[in-house]
């Protein structure tokens, strides 16, 4: 085999840059929706809301218990056989749906742990000065839980960015899909896959930097 074809790799960069926004869009929207859903699920679990609690357990059990790829295929190819209107969902939407449901199941447990981790004495203190349950959550518990949850949630976000590479199986050409197609045309596999690896790595490093800054800000109040 010949040596590394650097020109080919450089030529790939502008191509991959065109697909980068889609990858980031799917991950970001998926993350925001998953956060909202996961917070709801976590609160249901913490407050042990009757009925909803059992449904939440079932939801978490299923979406944690099956591979993301299986879930994506289920939404995109399977369910439309039962529910015809689902054929109108495009690959991007199906991917976001899959990422949201899958990762919210994991994130709900992280958020629950963070909420439960806030010392019980704070709850008692808040209630003793007459705060309602809602105020207690909003003003005392969630701000502290957020600080604890950020590192794990960021981990899930990183995982989600990389999981968007599965979207190609639903016909969505994102970073990985574009790379696979280029590699299948050029047969320069090493060059193509190392280039895309550097792309993902770069994104994640950028996020890690943002995370450090965010954590520093959240920790300001705790500085002694």
């Amino acid at each position: 085999m010949s040596v590394l074809d650097v020109d080919y790799m450089l030529g790939l960069v502008p191509v991959l840059l065109r697909y980068l926004p889609l990858t980031l869009q799917m991950a970001t929207v998926g993350m925001l929706l998953a956060l909202i859903l996961a917070c709801g699920l976590a609160v249901i679990r913490v407050l042990q809301i009757p009925g909803l609690n059992a449904a939440t357990l079932l939801f978490i059990s299923f979406f944690r218990g099956t591979p993301l790829l299986v879930q994506l295929f289920l939404f995109y190819y399977g369910l439309p056989q039962l529910l015809a209107f689902l054929t109108q969902i495009n690959g991007v939407t199906a991917t976001i749906m899959g990422l949201t449901l899958h990762f919210s199941a994991y994130m709900a447990e992280s958020i629950r742990a963070a909420i439960v981790g806030v010392d019980r004495s704070q709850t008692e203190a808040a209630l003793s000065i007459g705060m309602t349950n809602g105020q207690l959550m909003r003003r005392i518990v969630l701000p502290q839980a957020t600080r604890v949850a950020v590192p794990t949630l960021m981990n899930y976000f990183i995982d989600m960015i990389k999981a968007t590479s599965l979207a190609f199986t639903l016909g969505v050409t994102e970073l990985m899909g574009a790379t696979q197609k280029e590699a299948a045309g050029s047969f320069l596999y090493f060059e193509a896959f190392i280039t895309v690896a550097l792309f993902y790595w770069g994104i994640v490093e950028l996020l890690a930097w943002l995370q450090r800054r965010l954590e520093a800000r959240l920790n300001e109040a705790y500085r002694r």
């Binding site: 085999m1 010949s2 030529g11 191509v15 065109r18 929207v29 925001l32 929706l33 909202i36 995109y76 190819y77 439309p80 056989q81 054929t87 109108q88 969902i89 495009n90 690959g91 991007v92 939407t93 976001i96 190609f168 199986t169 639903l170 016909g171 050409t173 899909g177 574009a178 696979q180 197609k181 280029e182 590699a183 299948a184 045309g185 050029s186 047969f187 320069l188 596999y189």
Partner: protein
């Protein structure tokens, strides 16, 4: 603010979905893998190949727009089934199972199944030599079935792949792969992988465009078929084939 972004995204999603629902008569949606050189492949983000040219010519002949949708090969029939595309242009071989389920146009490519080996592999000279060997095929392709029909099929270890069978053969992880003769020769000629043809093609294959079996799709199939035969008569099909392969693969 997050709420607004989310709502906007959802709204955008719904608008896209609504747009998809209004599939109309003036566009034909064609699925392909975009990873089957030189029939359908991507270079510098540009989708090209024999299939692209043929289907563009067909659409022009029909007076409709053509929209190419690319997905992994194994996902293409799922997309056809769920109505996301009208047909698949990816060298789909007419087989008994597929004929039972789909409507095909007349064949527009005549080809053969070919054993391909790593250059210098002296152990395999023909399909008979695959006995006791490991052979790669693309998932969902008809080559797996062709191998299974061989009298010594139970002595062949078949590995199905989503993509990159050429690379795994070049790396020596499998002893051979089976693909169509035309694209295999083209890959060997134009690409840097150390591969070689082993013997003659062992089965004639006819490739055509599959459509769903419904009245509406039958009408579409007939229109595509008519366009194909006009392109055949005018010599346009031959010209496209000559351009990509230097030979006419569109006739038996």
């Amino acid at each position: 603010m997050f709420k607004h972004i989310t709502l906007a995204t959802l709204a955008a999603g719904l608008v896209t979905a609504a747009g998809l629902a209004q599939a109309n008569d003036d566009t034909i949606k064609v699925g392909m893998s975009g990873g089957y050189f030189p029939f359908t492949f991507v270079e510098q983000d540009k989708l090209q190949g024999f299939e692209v040219d043929v289907l563009t010519a067909v659409a022009e002949e029909m007076g409709v727009e053509v929209e190419f949708v690319t997905a992994n090969f194994s996902g293409l029939f799922g997309m056809l089934e769920s109505g996301r595309i009208d047909t698949i242009a990816n060298q789909i071989t007419i087989t008994e199972e597929r004929t039972a389920k789909y409507l095909f146009t007349e064949p527009y490519v005549y080809d053969g199944a070919q054993v391909v080996i790593r250059e210098g592999n002296e152990a395999i000279h023909s399909v008979e030599d695959l006995k006791g060997k490991t052979v790669a095929v693309n998932l969902g392709s008809n080559y797996e079935q062709l191998l299974n029909e061989l009298p010594y099929a139970d002595e062949i270890e078949i590995r199905t792949y989503e993509s990159n069978i050429e690379q795994d053969t070049a790396l020596g992880r499998v002893d051979a792969f089976v693909m169509d003769r035309v694209s295999a020769s083209q890959v060997i000629k134009e690409k840097p992988l150390p591969l070689a043809l082993a013997g003659q093609p062992f089965s004639e294959i006819k490739n055509a465009l599959p459509f769903r079996n419904s009245d509406e799709d039958r009408a579409l199939r007939d229109r595509v078929d008519a366009a194909l035969s006009r392109l055949r008569e005018s010599g346009a099909l031959t010209a496209i084939s000559e351009e990509w392969f230097g030979t006419d693969i569109t006739r038996p």
